[in-house]
Amino acid sequence: MSDWLGPAEWQALALSLWVSFFATLLSLPFGVFIAYALARWQFRGKHILNVLVHLPLILPPVVTGYLLLLTFGRQGAIGSWLYDNFGVILAFRWTGAVLAAAIMAFPLMVRSLRLAIEAVDPKLEQAAATLGAPRLWVFVTVTLPLILPGLIAGSVLAFAKAMGEFGATITFVSNIPGQTQTLPSAIYAFLQVPGGEGSALRLVVVSVVVAMGALLASEWLARRAVQRIAGS
């Protein structure tokens, strides 16, 4: 198979895996927090937050990428602040690709997590409180382990989505081989040239295989987590 993909393609694959992995990891804590807030708390602006989270799903990806550029670009409000204060640059970096993938995958992750959290019986959390555990501890030791199956499913879905993300990524961080050239950009490039369809198809097969593996692994992991909870 190492003959089957060229070195640039291997690089794109590796980068895609890397970016998707980090995007998933990065969005997980935020996803859990926002899903928890949406599932359990009543607050003003809840509907707005909900719509905001869904926005990347609703907007054409190019628009999302453009908005990212406006916000997180070096001239953007947050981007320049990040640079001035932390020296962090997102534009044209793999870190930016991570951000784009994370934002695009975020609605899917939050939805999975929200449903999982809604399924946790608040009575168990109350029980933990009567045993003296403060809120955060209750969350970490009771809620979190119980939503594990949903968390796995949501993460893998986000990972799969991140693997396929193209429009927002290329708009935000463009395509720099070895830095930001992900599998989808490579596929897109092949499709632009007459006769490139074969090469594009090869990469499509690769990404389908990866995503398929991730999905199967997640179903297996989620089943194991459920069994662990059901107990022996």
Binding site: Q126, A127, A128, T130, L131, A133, I229, G231, S232
Partner: protein, 361 residues
């Protein structure tokens, strides 16, 4: 160790206004479905915030609307045993038991090993709750609450979901708890038998307020409580002392009005205990009956007769220093011409005194 509850709260159509003081021991909250028992317990635990009032644990306020105080649940140090167990399904029994340990202000009075031993769950420690029977689950829930070193134990119908075999399995543990620790217990139950066996104090709720409260012996033996308690469960609770174990399997007890025989009890002679005599298990006789298979016959004086809803009459009697109740038919009362002040013999079948109705106290 005591609890003071004095709260007002509106719940749907129900106006709660509940005020009582629970001394040490087991305080039973008793009342029909929907009278606010769970609401009271939740208020004590801090899971519900009453509209106004005051709750004190050990003299220290944990809730007070006047000073705008409401200590959050996790700082109240109450051990709550829920009707449905609520064990953490992802943790082993051991992890469930030790969950509250790190938050206990001091070392628990009893170690994990001791509590497991007491509750008979030492062999389950490495298992997960999913595989436990209902009775085992409930015992683990009790152990978990205990080991968090609570200032009070709250138990909301902890046995209601269990069949009678499981109940019989757990009741002795609750008795040991009452007798071997000094943690006060607030106990909700629909079962008079359970309450009679466990409670030192009974608080009867009716339609959102306290209808009657006081020592268990008084409340349960009060003929005025027959309606709340239910005709079939009405009866008297008498303090007793174990005198002797006979080798035909009977245990002899003395009550203020005489002596009683019960199926063998495993408590040492000299121990103080309580016996419960259901009103419908008592037969009255003018003459001292002869040649009957019933071993227990007490002399008594009739205090009052009260008509019930049906053809029954409740006869309240003084028997030594205790009160006794009998439920007989109107017809028998008429035929025997029973009057207050009459001397009478109360025939009680020894085996009709249920084992579960006897407890140390």
């Amino acid at each position: 160790m005591s609890l003071l509850v004095d709260i007002r709260h509106r719940l749907g159509a129900l106006d709660l206004e509940i005020s009582f003081r629970a001394p040490g021991g087991v305080t039973a909250l008793f009342g029909r479905s929907g009278t606010g028992k769970t609401t009271v317990i939740n208020a004590v635990a801090g899971l519900l915030t009453p509209e106004s009032g005051r709750i004190e644990l050990d003299g220290e306020p944990v809730f007070d609307t006047r000073s705008d105080l409401s200590v959050p649940t996790h700082k109240r140090r109450v051990g709550y045993v829920f009707q449905d167990g609520r064990l953490f399904p992802h943790l082993s029994v051991r992890q469930n038991l030790t969950y509250g340990e790190r938050f206990a202000r001091a070392k628990p009075r009893a170690s994990l090993a001791e509590v497991s031993e007491l509750l008979g769950i030492s062999d389950l420690l490495e298992r997960r709750p999913g595989g436990l029977s209902g009775g085992e689950k409930q015992r683990v829930a009790i152990g978990r609450a205990l080991l968090s070193r609570p200032r009070i134990l709250l138990m909301d119908e902890p046995l209601a979901a269990l069949d009678s075999a499981r109940k019989a399995e757990i009741l002795p543990f609750l008795e040991r708890l009452r007798d071997h620790t000094d943690i006060p217990i607030l106990y909700v139950s629909h079962s008079v038998a359970e309450i009679a066996r466990l409670a030192t104090t009974v608080v009867v709720l009716e339609g959102g307020s306290v209808a009657r409260s006081g020592p268990a012996e008084h409340v349960l033996s009060d003929p005025g409580m027959v309606r709340q308690i239910g005709v079939r469960d009405a009866g008297a609770v008498l303090p007793a002392t174990i005198t002797r174990h006979h080798n035909d399997g009977l245990t002899e007890l003395s009550v203020s009005g005489g002596r009683l025989f019960l199926p063998e009890m495993d408590t040492a002679p000299g121990t103080a205990t309580r016996v419960r005599i259901l009103a419908h298990d008592v037969i009255l006789s003018r003459a001292l009956p002869q040649g009957l298979s019933a071993l227990n016959i007490l002399s008594a004086t009739i205090l009052a007769l009260r008509d019930g809803d049906g053809p029954g009459v409740i006869v309240q009697m003084q028997c030594g220093e205790d009160r006794l109740l009998a439920r007989i038919t109107r017809r028998s009362a008429d035929v025997m011409a029973l009057q207050p002040g009459d001397h009478i013999h109360a025939v009680i079948k020894s085996v009709s005194i249920a084992r579960t109705d006897v407890g140390a106290g």
